[in-house]
């Protein structure tokens, strides 16, 4: 009964549905939720599932799909841009970590073959967990996220040569061929790989698109989905046949299709499968953990676990420093990639099969790997809540985007409700606009809506430079938070003294601070809307639209004048004088407005007024009348006489 597929599915799904939302609610991320679900249904807690190994095998396909999706989000140009972190940093991480672990293994008395094999196993990090977590937290596009991604990509690539090397490490064994590739001579193998990669690239550009078009034309959604799955599965299979990692192949296919118009459909078709399979994968990792082993030697396992994580993190801090990542990015790759990944499971079982090492090495290794994955979400929480805020200037939780173009005529800092309107209006009027914003969710959302927005702290000089401040004609400061806004304003004034700043002021104090800095083009953020609101209120009360409009305009003008009168005394030696002047300006303003609105000094817009004209005209008329009356009187007199 408990072996039926339905029952298994029931258990897995129930565990996922119960654990994942709880973990997410607690801010732990979905990966930890799945892992815990696995632990709970695993043999050592509830024992609802037996050997999860076969499930894991199936679930590994989730990783393949994930890389396909990752590829879809990357354009070939981006991959090319990342070649340095991929091969440089990635290469250094794999080689360096393997070397360090080998040294440690030798010190612990293992043979060099075993030590090296374990070293290569432990160099792997978890693509699945890291990318999923980074994606969930919106950190993927940051410098640290890109570095993590690059290193993971290199690790995935290096699995292939590692698999080739393992048999050579086997004690005395010379001919335990690696699967699929051992049988063929090297040149043929190379040719096959080239052919397969070429096939993917060429087919991706030529055959797949018309096929998608054709299928999309049928309007049968499931056929489209089936084809998307077919595409991924067939590439994975092809890659396996030529001895490449399926994940790598699908990644490549993703990149090739990244620029096709069906990208988003593909994404949304594959996404749920990927999510479920990855979930399944994590659950099976959780269920794999051998708690008996841990219970037997808890200290040893714990020591190993801490040792491995510390070694990976510390060495990575060093590597990333060599590659000049900035501080938050260094911490992100180092802590982020400190676990051992799913490929380690593959390598461990292969190592056993190739007789590189036996159970006594493999079993604790599996436990350590699984536990390291289990603690990763917790490390991410630590990273996000404790480490990153410390190592990042200000409160930014996220790395800064590399700003792509520097030909912008206008730089808009802050893409909130105000900045959005400004940036869009300028852009639609044909100006090149670069927008910087600090809210990662906002940036992601707007990016998804197709807006060109960069995540970045506008108070960083390098970012301002790459945003084009040196050439820009205008800097529009739309940041709402006064302190942040001032920080940016000061930086721009100092480093780009010729760049005119147009600033949004949150309130009067903010206005004064901006003014003190020498900025004269300052817009009070609530002025426009309060005037508009008043204008509409007047209209609702029966005042004519045009009259209400003019009242509001006049209000604005007088208010501005009062403010400028005040500003003349800002920054003077005598603060009291300033306040006295400020009060005077306010009083003047109120007096003028009251008089105008209540008509004490005559109505506003006197030009349209005809009262005085009327008086004059009527007086003249009265005079004419009086004269006429007199004339008629005298005429009557004459007639009587």
């Amino acid at each position: 009964m408990s072996d039926s597929i339905l029952f298994q599915a029931l258990i897995y799904l129930a565990a996922a549905v119960l654990c994942v939302p709880v973990a997410k609610r607690l801010g732990l991320g979905s990966v930890l939720g799945y892992l815990l679900a696995g632990v709970i249904i695993g043999p050592d807690v509830l024992g609802l599932v037996g050997n999860a190994g076969h499930v894991m095998h199936f679930a590994e396909f989730g990783v393949v799909m994930m890389l396909f999706l990752v590829g879809l989000e990357l354009k070939p140009s981006t991959v090319w841009q990342l070649r340095r972190p991929i091969f440089g940093l990635g290469g250094m991480q794999v080689a360096g970590t393997a070397a360090l672990v080998t040294g440690a293994g030798l010190a612990l008395g293992f043979s060099w073959q075993v030590a090296l094999a374990v070293g290569m196993v432990l160099a792997m990090s978890s693509t699945a967990i890291v990318l999923q977590s980074l994606g969930e937290k919106g950190l993927l596009k940051t410098e640290g996220g890109q570095a993590s991604f690059s290193v993971l990509l290199f690790q995935d690539l290096s699995v292939i040569p590692i698999l080739a090397v393992f048999p050579l490490l086997a004690a005395g064994a010379a001919v335990v061929g690696a699967p699929a590739q051992g049988a063929r001579p090297g040149w043929l193998q190379g040719l096959l790989i080239l052919g397969a990669v070429g096939l993917i690239v060429v087919a991706g550009r030529t055959v797949v698109r018309p096929l998608f078009r054709f299928l999309a034309g049928t309007r049968l959604r499931e056929v489209f989905t089936a084809f998307a799955l077919f595409l991924v599965v067939s590439i994975a299979w092809l890659m396996q046949q030529v001895g490449l990692s399926p994940a790598l192949g699908t990644f490549l296919a993703g990149v090739v299709l990244a620029e096709s118009e069906y990208r988003h459909e593909l994404e949304s078709d594959i996404e749920p499968f990927k999510g479920l399979l990855l979930g399944l994968f994590f659950i099976s990792v959780g269920a794999e953990i051998d708690f008996h082993l841990i219970a037997e030697a808890p200290l040893r396992i714990a020591g190993l676990l801490v040792g491995v994580i510390a070694l990976k993190a510390v060495s990575m801090l060093g590597f990333s420093r060599i590659f000049k990542l900035d501080r938050p990015a260094r911490w992100l790759v180092s802590v982020g990639l400190s676990q051992v990944g799913e490929f380690a499971f593959v390598l461990i079982s292969f190592g056993q099969a190739s007789a590189v090492f036996g159970d006594e090495v493999a079993k604790p290794l599996v436990a350590v790997v699984a536990l390291s994955m289990l603690v990763t979400p917790a490390l991410f929480v630590l990273l996000e809540r404790v480490i990153l805020p410390r190592v990042t200037a200000g409160a930014a939780k996220r790395e800064h985007d590399a700003v792509a173009h520097d030909d912008a005529q206008v730089v808009v800092a802050g893409f909130g409700r105000v900045g959005q309107v400004v940036a869009r209006m300028l852009r639609m009027s044909g100006f090149g606009v670069t927008v910087l914003d600090l809210d990662p969710e906002m940036v992601d959302l707007l990016r998804r809506l197709g807006q060109k927005v960069y995540y970045g702290d506008a108070s960083r000089l390098d970012l301002l430079v790459s945003a084009g401040c040196e050439k820009a004609k205008l800097f529009v400061l739309c940041i709402d938070e006064p302190d942040k806004s001032m920080e940016v304003a000061e930086l721009v004034r100092r480093h780009f003294p010729k760049l005119p700043i147009l600033a949004r002021a949150r309130n009067r104090q903010h206005y004064i601070r901006l003014w003190t800095l020498g900025i004269r083009d300052i817009i009070r953020e609530t002025m426009g809307s309060s005037l508009e609101l008043s204008e509409h209120a007047l209209r609702n009360l029966g005042v004519r639209a045009h009259t209400a409009h003019r009242i509001a305009n006049r209000w604005r003008a007088h208010d501005e004048k009062a403010l400028l009168d005040m500003m003349k005394f800002v920054g003077g030696p005598d603060r009291n004088a300033f306040f006295a002047e400020a009060r005077k300006a306010m009083e003047n303003f109120e007096k003028t407005m009251r008089e105008e609105l209540q008509g004490t000094t005559g109505q506003p817009d006197k030009g349209w007024d005809n009262e005085s004209l009327r008086n004059e005209a009527n007086a003249r008329f009265a005079a004419v009348q009086a004269q006429a009356a007199k004339a008629s009187e005298s005429s009557t007199t004459t007639s009587t006489t």
């Binding site: 204008e535 005042v543 004519r544 639209a545 045009h546 009259t547 209400a548 409009h549 109505q603 817009d605 349209w608 007024d609 005809n610 004209l613 009327r614 005209a617 009527n618 008329f621 004419v624 009348q625 006429a628 004339a631 008629s632």
Partner: protein, 207 residues
């Protein structure tokens, strides 16, 4: 008999709430069948004229009445803005601009000056028709028939509803005859003005 003409009154008064003449005139005719009163300053408080909407309105009507006080021998600013933006080349005039051809147009005006001031020997030196020449030619260029104006002179003298009554009556009658096609258009185009019995101060014998 042809269909009744539809009449569009473009009312332009920047402070209609303080108006004595134009407000009363507009109130008196706004409910007449076939008449649409379009209060420009109310519709465009910041003078942001919606050209498409205005053109559509023009197409829906057969007679365009510009009703406004006489300001500096012309119309309040929004009328000018309206003419500048709405009468587009290629639409209202020009080789392909025939949208308004055949429609009628006239000004309905209140002036401060009395009628005898608008004479060659009066202190305004020109007649109303002379002063309105720019409108005359504007509508002529649009191939419309420009009729003589309806003028309420000596608007300052209007104090009460009673004072305006003759004008209101005359105005309503004029619109009705325009709508029903009972007005002789040739005469109306040639006339000095379309109202008779205009309210003019009588220097003597006033009750």
């Amino acid at each position: 008999m042809a269909d009744p003409r539809r009449i569009l009154i473009l009312l332009a008064h920047p402070v209609l709430e303080r108006s004595r003449v134009n407000r009363r005139l507009a109130d008196a005719v706004k409910d007449l069948p076939g008449v649409t009163v379009h209060d420009l300053y109310e519709a465009y408080p910041s003078m942001n004229i919606d050209v498409k909407r205005e053109q559509a309105l023009l197409l829906e009507h057969d007679v365009v009445v510009l009703q406004h006080p006489f300001y500096w021998y012309s119309a309040p600013a929004i009328i000018k803005e309206w003419l500048d933006l709405v009468l587009e080349h290629g639409w209202a005039y020009g080789q392909h601009g025939k949208a308004l051809a055949g429609k009628l147009a006239l000004n309905v005006i209140s002036t401060g000056g009395p009628d005898f001031a608008y004479r060659p020997d009066g202190f305004n030196r020109f007649t109303m028709r002379q002063l309105l020449a720019p409108f005359d030619q504007t509508f002529h260029l649009c191939q419309m028939k420009y009729l003589a104006p309806f003028v309420v002179h000596a608007a300052m003298r209007v104090e009460t509803d009673e004072d305006i009554k003759p004008h209101v009556r005359a105005y309503a009658a004029l619109l009705a005859s325009l709508r029903d096609g009972t007005l002789d258009l040739n005469q109306a185009m040639a006339a000095q003005r379309l109202n008779d019995g205009a309210f003019t101060p009588q220097p003597a014998g006033n009750a």
